[in-house]
Assembly symmetry: none
Homo-oligomer: 211 residues x 4
């Protein structure tokens, strides 16, 4: 009854295993053979579905890029009626561990790294960031018009937010003295408040952006 495993089910299943094999064995270690063994299938079946390993890698890149965009929580937030509350929840989510944790860091960096040698992967990631930027711009506009923030160049603002958000992961990995992720995340968020010129009346003490 459920033996009817076709491409629609199999391909995501394989990508899932590919993803986890990368986590456990690294990108170079994630051979088709190992993925197949992990799944209990024959290596050539993977080729059957993806033709080449590169295809499979690109497709995994797509999935990862899509996951980044599809942070489901955004839905609830942007549905919030009180725009001030909405702003702060928006920023909290932006600088939250949830944002970072959707994709395993090592895989994430793997694909950044692969971007340098694979145009398709680069395009996927670039597209993902541009899409995300559009989403940010759209919302920044609302906040600006409501007088919560005070900016003129939406695009630049969105860009700097992306840099800060990505920077948290980076900091956590390479610079941090083992302090909890959230600590620097919150700090970065406050820096964002400052750069966006958030209405000072709205800021409680824990949101102060003095370095």
């Amino acid at each position: 009854m459920r033996k009817k495993s076709n491409a629609e089910f199999r391909k995501p299943e394989i990508l899932e295993h590919y993803y986890h094999t990368i986590i456990e064995e690294g990108f170079e270690g994630a051979s088709i053979g190992k993925i197949a063994k992990r799944m209990g299938i024959h290596p050539s079946l993977i080729i059957h579905y993806f033709k080449t390993k590169e295809n499979m890698t690109v497709e995994l890149g797509e999935v990862i890029a899509q996951k980044y965009q599809a942070v489901e929580q955004w839905g609830n937030i942007t549905a919030q009626r009180d725009i001030k509350k909405m702003f702060f929840r928006f920023m909290d989510l932006l600088f939250s561990i949830e944002m970072s944790a959707t994709i395993d860091d090592s895989v994430y960096f793997t694909f950044y790294y692969l971007s340098f040698r694979n145009q398709e992967i680069r395009n996927n990631f670039s597209g993902m960031f541009k899409h995300f930027r559009s989403f940010l711009i759209e919302n920044l506009k609302k906040f600006n018009e409501a007088g919560i923030i005070n900016i003129t160049d939406y695009k630049k603002a969105a860009d700097i937010l992306i840099v800060l958000v990505e920077g948290i992961d980076f900091h956590d990995k390479f610079v941090s003295d083992d302090e909890p992720f959230q600590k620097f995340a919150k700090y970065a968020r406050n820096m964002a408040f400052k750069l966006l010129d958030v209405d000072k009346k709205l800021l409680t003490k824990d949101k102060i952006f003095k370095i």
Copy 2:
């Protein structure tokens, strides 16, 4: 006294070729065989000097990490007597293309990526950033005491500077709409001015940090 092509000279030479092979062939493509062919020597000789490829990779990581620290230009700048001039030249260099161009981006990202699977490499890079942070702190202190900037938490300030500086490369690679590197770099620099609370009297028009 006889031949002087010993390890001391050979190892850096090999690492140099390893580095360029990575640029041209990617990390996976940079096999010992290819490096050897590039040098016109026998692959075994590379093993002879480094024992294993992993060793060689780690050593290349060290060299790269050291290069990042040893930005020679800093010397001239910190020797500057007029502290205000010094500050702006300091910031200009920090957000300059020279900072980014010392090491090829693709190799840089390769080692970030390798950090996830190799503790030694991670330590090297982590150490490099900490060292760099110390350097920043030291200088920020001077600027703060001279009343040029106005901060309280030096470490945090240094961290955010690192994030912003690293973010330029990242932005250039993935987010930028093909605008020149310098444009966003300058913008990021201005954001830094804002976060550091630079004395407004010192800012000319092109240094204004309004988004």
Copy 3:
């Protein structure tokens, strides 16, 4: 009564594509997968019709062997009433490029080559040559009885004709200094005239067989 694309039509179609795939990709390169792709069908379908690839190869060998025999032009020639004219047209056709061009040389040699490892293919080709020899004998007899040629051993004569005819292709491929195919063909034809002891009165200048 429904679809009429059944084996009778499909098999020759597949063989046709197999033939052309061999020309383009070589025998080793002519995989079932490639043939199927060429036809826009599924590889399994080819297996469905031929059971195994070897079967298919043997069947292609049959088709090729048959084509060699079925040189339609012979019909017109042997219908010729003037036996002298008939002889010369017969010989002209025998040593013509049309004889060689019916089957692509590379495929032809492929099957010679396959003959060594496949009894069935060898039998097909052997049968084809024997059949062709019978045809030659039959006609040589007529020419001999009409006094045009002067031989006693028909079989040997037929054999030597086959050797000469096949030799033209061989010469063209390996020995010729890029001179046109027809030049050596004509030369070989004249040698045949000599061996068959053609009545000298019948020979015009361009048919003289002196080396």
Copy 4:
């Protein structure tokens, strides 16, 4: 003492095994793995010496082509003082089984076949035939000047001899009714006598060239 197996010894050894593997398994069946197993060595060692299988195949082609040229017996014959005796021994050797048996037929045909897809192999074989033709021309000249044969176009004569000689193998493989190789070989030789216009006084009964 004899462990010192280097390329000079190893490569011919491998080619020898390649040759025999082709005989036993056919060209497609002669994989590097099988050759290695036959030799009791590791497959990658074969790659070590030849880099690619194609190289190895081309080199085998060279060896085969050279063997054809280097028929040692010629030496003794052309040293013969009595030119008439020499002529007949020359022709006997030309149409002898020794000429055909130096290289296994199936391998020989394999390389004919490969010539169609590999320029280098084609060149080797073409060169071999041209070299052989030169050798024939050189000798035909002597025989002609001695009045034994009577020809004007040496090159054409040499070409037709090659075609006849190659034709024996061909006939034996595909046309012959299992009659011994020598029988048709002798017959072909006699045809050659006829084409070369051998001085009739020299011909004994078994050399008569009437078909």
